[in-house]
C-alpha cells in the first residue's frame, strides 16, 4: 500500500462511563478499498466505525480524513462532511417511515441543498441500479427487508461519497438476500470508487472485503495478506 491512506485512525481511546470501548485502536482505510472490521460483539468495532465517521469523538487519539483532522473539527463541519463525503448503511431503523423509498434515497441530496426534482431523478437512477425500482413509490414499511436494505444502500451511495460506512448491513437478512445486497453494494461502491468500511461479524459478509481488521477488547489486530 504505497498510496497515502484516505482515512486514518491513530491510537483512539474512548470510554463510556467505566466501560472502555476503544483502547489505543489504530486502523487505515485506503481510497477505493473495502475494509472489514471484524470481531465479537462488544469488541468496539461499531464504536471504531462511529469514530472513523466523525459521529463519535474519541477521548484520545486522532482521526484524519484526506489529511484533515476530523477530531479537531466542529460538529457542524463534521455533519457537513458526513452529508457530502460519507455514506451510511445500518442494520435497521434508518429509513424515514413516512417518506417513500424514492424520497428516502433523495433525502441526502436534498439535505445537501439539491433541488427536489434533480434529487428525485438521481434517486430513481440509484434505485434502478440496485434493482428496487418497483418499491420507489412505496413506503419502507411496505417493502421487504432485503428491498429496504437495498434502498438504504442506494441512499448511502446517491451522494457519490468517498467513504461508505456500513454497520452490519445484512444483519437482519437471510443468507441469500444478504448476499445479494452485498454483491450489489460492493459492486456499486467499486464502480463509484468509494471506499467501504464494513462492520460485520459474519465471515461470509467479510469475504466481500479486500482486507479485514479484527477488533478485540478495543484494540485492532490487523493482518494483511496481499497476494
Amino acid at each position: 500500500m504505497a498510496a497515502e491512506p484516505l482515512l486514518v485512525a491513530e491510537n483512539l481511546e474512548l470510554s463510556f462511563g467505566s466501560t472502555t470501548a476503544l483502547d489505543s485502536a489504530s486502523v487505515q482505510v485506503h481510497a477505493g478499498e473495502v475494509l472489514a472490521l471484524m470481531g465479537p460483539s462488544g469488541s468496539g468495532k461499531s464504536t471504531l466505525l462511529h469514530c472513523l465517521a466523525g459521529i463519535l469523538h474519541p477521548d484520545q487519539g486522532r482521526v484524519t480524513y484526506a489529511g484533515r483532522d476530523l477530531t479537531a473539527m466542529h460538529d457542524n463541519e463534521r455533519s457537513a462532511l458526513r452529508r457530502s463525503e460519507f455514506g451510511f448503511v445500518f442494520q435497521f431503523g434508518q429509513l424515514v417511515p413516512e417518506l417513500t423509498c424514492l424520497e428516502n434515497v433523495a433525502l441526502p441530496l436534498r439535505l445537501g441543498g439539491a433541488p427536489r426534482r434533480a434529487a428525485l431523478r438521481s434517486a430513481a437512477a440509484w434505485l434502478e441500479r440496485l434493482e428496487v425500482s418497483d418499491v420507489a413509490d412505496k413506503r419502507p414499511g411496505q417493502a421487504s427487508g432485503g428491498q429496504g436494505q437495498r434502498v438504504a444502500v442506494a441512499r448511502a451511495l446517491v451522494t457519490r461519497p468517498r467513504v461508505v460506512f456500513a454497520d452490519e448491513p445484512t444483519g437482519a437478512l437471510d443468507t441469500l438476500n444478504g448476499e445479494r445486497v452485498m454483491q450489489l453494494f460492493v459492486a456499486a461502491a467499486r464502480d463509484t470508487g468509494a471506499a467501504v468500511v464494513l462492520v460485520t461479524h459474519e465471515p461470509r459478509v467479510a469475504a466481500y472485503s479486500d482486507h479485514e481488521a479484527v477488533v478485540r477488547d478495543g484494540r485492532v489486530r490487523t493482518r494483511e495478506y496481499a497476494r
Binding site: S84, F90, G93, Q94, V96, R116
Partner: protein, 767 residues
C-alpha cells in the same frame, strides 16, 4: 366477576407502574379530566349560588307601598344608588320611628342620624388611598360593618345610613325587611342568549377535552396491551385492562377536579365583578348534579377508551390501526354544522325568549361547534395531502402528518371547538359593547349629570354652586324641567290632558338633549319624539301643571323643530314632546321645577374627578342620582367578561400545548434510532427541529383557522340576533392567534432538549 376485578386492577397497576412516562401520561389524563370535572362542578354549583343570592337579597328587600302608621315598630327607608369608579354602591337611608324598628340583616343596632354601617369591602375601600374620592360622601361616622348575612358576596359595596330627613311622602315605611319581591322579571333576551352561548361554549369543550385527555399517550398503552396479548391475554382482557388504566386516570381526574374546584371556590367570589360576587360557602354543587359528575365522568372516559380501542386491532405482535389508509369523507361531516347553521337562521330576524327558539339556538350552537370537531380531521388530512414542495423539514413534517394526523388533530380539536365558541362569544360581547357604546350621548361638553327629582326653587342654584366647588369639576350647567299642559283657551274650561316637558337651560345645556344647530339666548326649540303630538306654536301653557303651578307661558312661533340627540331618551320614542327654552325666552317667569339636572364638565386631568363630584352631590342630597353621561358600566362589565374569556382561551391553548408536547415526545422516543441515524448521515439538527415545529404548527394553524372562521360566522349570526352592527373582534382573534403561535413555539422548544439528547451519537448504540 372476579376476572373483571383482576383485569381492572391489573390495568390500574400497569398505569401507575409505567415508570416516568407512565406517570406523565397519568398526570396528563388526570389534569385533563380534572379540568373537565372542575368545569362541571362549577356548572353544577350555579343553581346553588343563584339560590343563595336570591335568598340573601330577598331577606333585605324593602316592600314598597305598605299602609302602615308611624310609631309602630316601623322605619322609613329610601334607596341610594351610587358608584365608585365603575363599581356600583347601593345604600339604604334608615330613619327608625321606634326603638324596635326593623333592622336589615347583618345590622345589629338602630342608627342615629349620620350613623353609617358599611360592608367590609366598602370599609376597606373607604380606608384605602384609592377611596379618597369616596370619603365623606355619606359622612364619616362609621359605627359598624354589615354582617355576611346581609350581603350577597364578600366584595359587595353596601351601606346603611341613619337619617332624620325622610318623610312618608318620599320614602317607604316598612315594618320588617324581607319580602318575596317577585322580581322575577325574566332575563333580558340578549343576556339570556349570552348565558346560553356561554354555557354551551364552556361545557361542550369539556366533553371534547375529556375524551381527548383520555387518549393521551394511548399509542404507548396499545403497545403495552400488545405485549400482554403476546403472553396470552384475550381481546376482552385487553379491553378491561385498558379500562382499568383509564379509570385510574379518571379517578385522579376526579381528585384533581375536586381540589381545583375547592381552590376556585376560595377565590371565585372575589374574582368575579363586584355585582356578581358570592360567598365561597355558597358555591356548593347541587348534590344530584355532583353525583352525576362523579359517576358520568369516569363512565365517559371508559366508553371513550373502549371506542378508541375499536379503531385498533391489538394483536400479539403489535398494533394495527384500522382503516388508517382510508381517506376521510367530507360530505357527512358538513351535514352537522350546516344543520346547526340552519337552526340558527331564525336568529337573523331577531330574538324572542320562547322556549322553542331557545332550544333551537342551543341545538344550533352545539351542532355548529361539534361540526368544528368533525371537519377538522378532514381539513387537516385534505390539507396535508395537498401540500407539496418546501424544504426537507417541511417535507418530513407533512409526510408524518399524511401518515397519521389523527393524534395531532385530537389534541387540537378540543381547542378548536373552544376557540370557535369563545370567538363567537367575544364577538357577541364586543357587539353588545358597541351597541351600548352607540347609545352614549355626546360627552364633548359635559361628562356627568346629577338628577334631582325632588328639587325646590333654589335647587338649580344650589347644585351649580356646590358642584362647582368639587375637585375636578370644571363647569356646571343646570337644566330645569317642568311639566306643562296647554292652558284652556277660555277660563273655566278643563285643562288639556296632553302634557309636554319644558326644559330651561343655556344653549350649551340644551345641546345635550337635542341637535340644535345654531342657538342664541332667546331661542326656543321643539323636540317631537315618534308617536307624540307636536305642540302648536302660539299656544299658551301652564307650567308646573302637575304640581298645581299656574305660570303661563306661550310657545313662540319662532320655535324651531329639532331632532333629539342620539342616545337620548327622546330618541327612542314613546315619550311626550319636549320644548327646550333658553333663559332669554322665559320672560323672567319663575317656575317651581319638577326636576333639576345638573350637567357637569369634568377635568380629565384630575383623577377620580367623577367620584369627587359624586361625593359633592351626595353631600347636597344623598338621594340625587349622579352618573356619568356615557354608560360606562355595561361596557366595563363586558370588558371583564372579555378578559375572562381571553384568559380562558389562553389557558386552554397552554393545555393543548402540553398534550401536543406529550405526543411529540412520545413520537421522538419511538424513533430515537432513526433520529440518531439521520444525524449520523449529516442531517442538521436545525432540520429536525424545524420538522418538529411544522408538525406541531400545521394542525394548530389549521385548527385555529377553522375555529376563527366558524367563530366569526357564529358571531355574525349572534350579532344579527341582537341587532348589533356586524363587527369582528379582531383584537380577540389577534390575541388568540398570537397565543397559538406562542404555544406552538413553546411546545417545539420544550421538545428540543429531548431531540438533542436522542440525536446524540450514543443513540446509535442502543441495538
Amino acid at each position: 366477576m372476579t376476572r373483571w376485578v383482576t383485569d381492572l386492577t391489573l390495568g390500574v397497576r400497569l398505569s401507575v407502574g409505567g415508570g416516568r412516562s407512565g406517570w406523565a401520561r397519568l398526570a396528563l389524563i388526570a389534569v385533563g379530566v380534572g379540568l373537565g370535572v372542575t368545569m362541571l362542578l362549577i356548572a353544577a354549583s350555579v343553581p346553588t349560588v343563584l339560590d343563595a343570592r336570591t335568598a340573601r337579597t330577598d331577606a333585605r328587600s324593602v316592600a314598597a307601598g305598605e299602609e302602615l302608621t308611624a310609631g309602630e315598630p316601623t322605619a322609613l327607608t329610601q334607596e341610594i344608588r351610587s358608584s365608585f369608579r365603575e363599581a356600583p354602591i347601593v345604600g339604604l337611608l334608615l330613619q327608625p320611628e321606634h326603638d324596635d324598628a326593623p333592622l336589615p340583616p347583618g345590622v345589629t343596632r338602630q342608627l342615629d342620624p349620620g350613623d353609617l354601617v358599611v360592608s367590609p369591602a366598602l370599609a376597606d375601600l373607604l380606608a384605602s388611598d384609592a377611596g379618597a374620592a369616596l370619603r365623606d360622601r355619606w359622612g364619616d361616622r362609621i359605627v359598624g360593618t354589615i354582617g355576611d348575612e346581609g350581603l350577597t358576596g364578600p366584595e359587595e359595596l353596601r351601606f346603611y345610613l341613619g337619617t332624620d330627613r325622610l318623610t312618608a311622602g318620599t320614602a317607604d315605611r316598612i315594618q320588617s325587611f324581607g319580602w318575596a319581591e317577585g322580581l322575577d322579571e325574566g332575563l333580558d333576551p340578549t343576556l339570556l342568549l349570552l348565558v346560553l352561548v356561554g354555557m354551551v361554549v364552556l361545557l361542550l369543550p369539556v366533553a371534547v377535552f375529556v375524551s381527548t385527555a383520555v387518549r393521551f399517550g394511548s399509542e404507548n398503552r396499545d403497545r403495552r396491551l400488545a405485549a400482554l396479548r403476546l403472553v396470552g391475554a384475550d381481546v376482552g382482557m385487553t379491553r378491561r385492562i385498558a379500562a382499568g388504566e383509564t379509570l385510574a386516570g379518571a379517578a385522579g381526574g376526579l381528585a384533581v377536579g375536586t381540589l381545583l374546584f375547592l381552590a376556585i371556590g376560595r377565590v371565585a367570589g372575589y374574582a368575579v365583578p363586584a355585582g356578581m360576587g358570592f360567598f365561597p360557602e355558597d358555591l356548593r354543587p347541587v348534590p344530584v348534579l355532583a353525583a352525576l359528575t362523579v359517576v358520568l365522568v369516569p363512565a365517559t372516559t371508559v366508553l371513550v377508551t373502549l371506542s378508541a380501542l375499536k379503531q385498533v386491532l391489538v394483536e400479539p405482535l403489535g398494533v394495527v390501526r384500522r382503516g388508517s389508509e382510508r381517506r376521510r369523507r367530507f360530505w357527512w361531516r358538513l351535514v352537522v354544522p350546516v344543520a346547526g347553521l340552519a337552526l340558527l337562521t331564525p336568529l337573523m330576524g331577531g330574538l324572542d325568549d320562547s322556549l322553542g327558539s331557545q332550544v333551537m339556538v342551543v341545538a344550533g350552537l352545539i351542532l355548529v361547534l361539534l361540526g368544528v370537531a368533525l371537519i377538522l380531521p378532514w381539513l387537516v388530512e385534505a390539507a396535508v395531502h395537498r401540500m407539496h414542495g418546501g424544504g426537507v423539514a417541511w417535507d418530513l413534517a407533512v409526510r408524518r402528518l399524511q401518515l397519521d394526523s389523527g393524534t395531532a388533530v385530537r389534541a387540537v380539536s378540543g381547542i378548536a371547538v373552544s376557540v370557535a365558541g369563545l370567538i363567537a362569544l367575544q364577538g357577541l360581547v364586543g357587539a353588545i359593547g358597541t351597541l351600548s357604546a352607540q347609545t352614549q350621548a355626546d360627552t364633548s361638553t359635559f361628562q356627568a349629570a346629577v338628577l334631582d327629582i325632588e328639587p325646590n326653587t333654589d335647587s338649580a342654584g344650589t347644585w351649580a354652586r356646590e358642584l362647582s366647588r368639587a375637585e375636578g369639576v370644571a363647569g356646571v350647567g343646570t337644566l330645569v324641567s317642568v311639566w306643562a299642559r296647554k292652558a284652556p283657551s277660555e277660563a273655566g274650561q278643563p285643562v288639556s290632558g296632553d302634557e309636554l316637558l319644558v326644559d330651561f337651560g343655556t344653549c350649551k345645556v340644551l345641546a345635550q338633549d337635542a341637535r340644535l344647530g345654531s342657538c342664541d339666548d332667546g331661542d326656543v326649540f321643539v323636540v317631537v319624539p315618534a308617536g307624540a303630538t307636536a305642540p302648536e306654536a302660539g299656544s299658551t301653557y301652564l307650567l308646573g301643571a302637575g304640581r298645581g303651578g299656574d305660570a303661563r307661558w306661550t310657545l313662540p312661533a319662532s320655535a324651531e323643530v329639532v331632532e333629539p340627540s342620539p342616545g337620548g331618551v327622546s330618541a327612542m320614542g314613546g315619550t311626550p314632546a319636549r320644548v327646550l327654552v333658553t333663559p332669554g325666552a322665559l320672560d323672567g317667569i319663575d317656575v317651581d321645577p319638577e326636576s333639576v339636572t345638573a350637567y357637569v364638565t369634568l377635568d380629565p386631568a384630575v383623577p377620580d374627578a367623577l367620584d369627587h363630584m359624586r361625593t359633592a352631590a351626595a353631600q347636597v342630597d344623598p338621594v340625587a342620582y349622579a352618573s356619568p353621561i356615557a354608560q360606562e358600566r355595561i361596557t366595563s362589565i363586558l370588558g371583564n367578561v372579555r378578559q375572562v374569556l381571553l384568559v380562558g382561551m389562553v389557558a386552554l391553548l397552554v393545555l393543548i400545548g402540553a398534550s401536543m408536547l406529550v405526543n411529540v415526545i412520545e413520537q421522538l422516543r419511538e424513533r430515537r434510532q432513526l433520529l440518531a441515524v439521520l444525524v449520523a448521515v449529516g442531517t442538521r439538527r436545525r432540520t429536525l427541529g424545524g420538522s418538529v415545529l411544522f408538525q406541531v404548527a400545521i394542525p394548530v394553524v389549521l385548527g385555529l383557522a377553522l375555529a376563527v372562521v366558524t367563530g366569526l360566522i357564529l358571531a355574525l349570526a349572534l350579532q344579527a340576533a341582537v341587532d348589533a352592527p356586524l363587527a369582528f373582534d379582531w383584537r380577540g382573534v389577534g390575541v388568540t392567534s398570537g397565543a397559538a403561535a406562542l404555544v406552538v413555539l413553546l411546545t417545539t422548544a420544550a421538545s428540543l432538549p429531548l431531540l438533542w439528547r436522542l440525536t446524540s451519537p450514543t443513540g446509535l448504540r442502543s441495538e
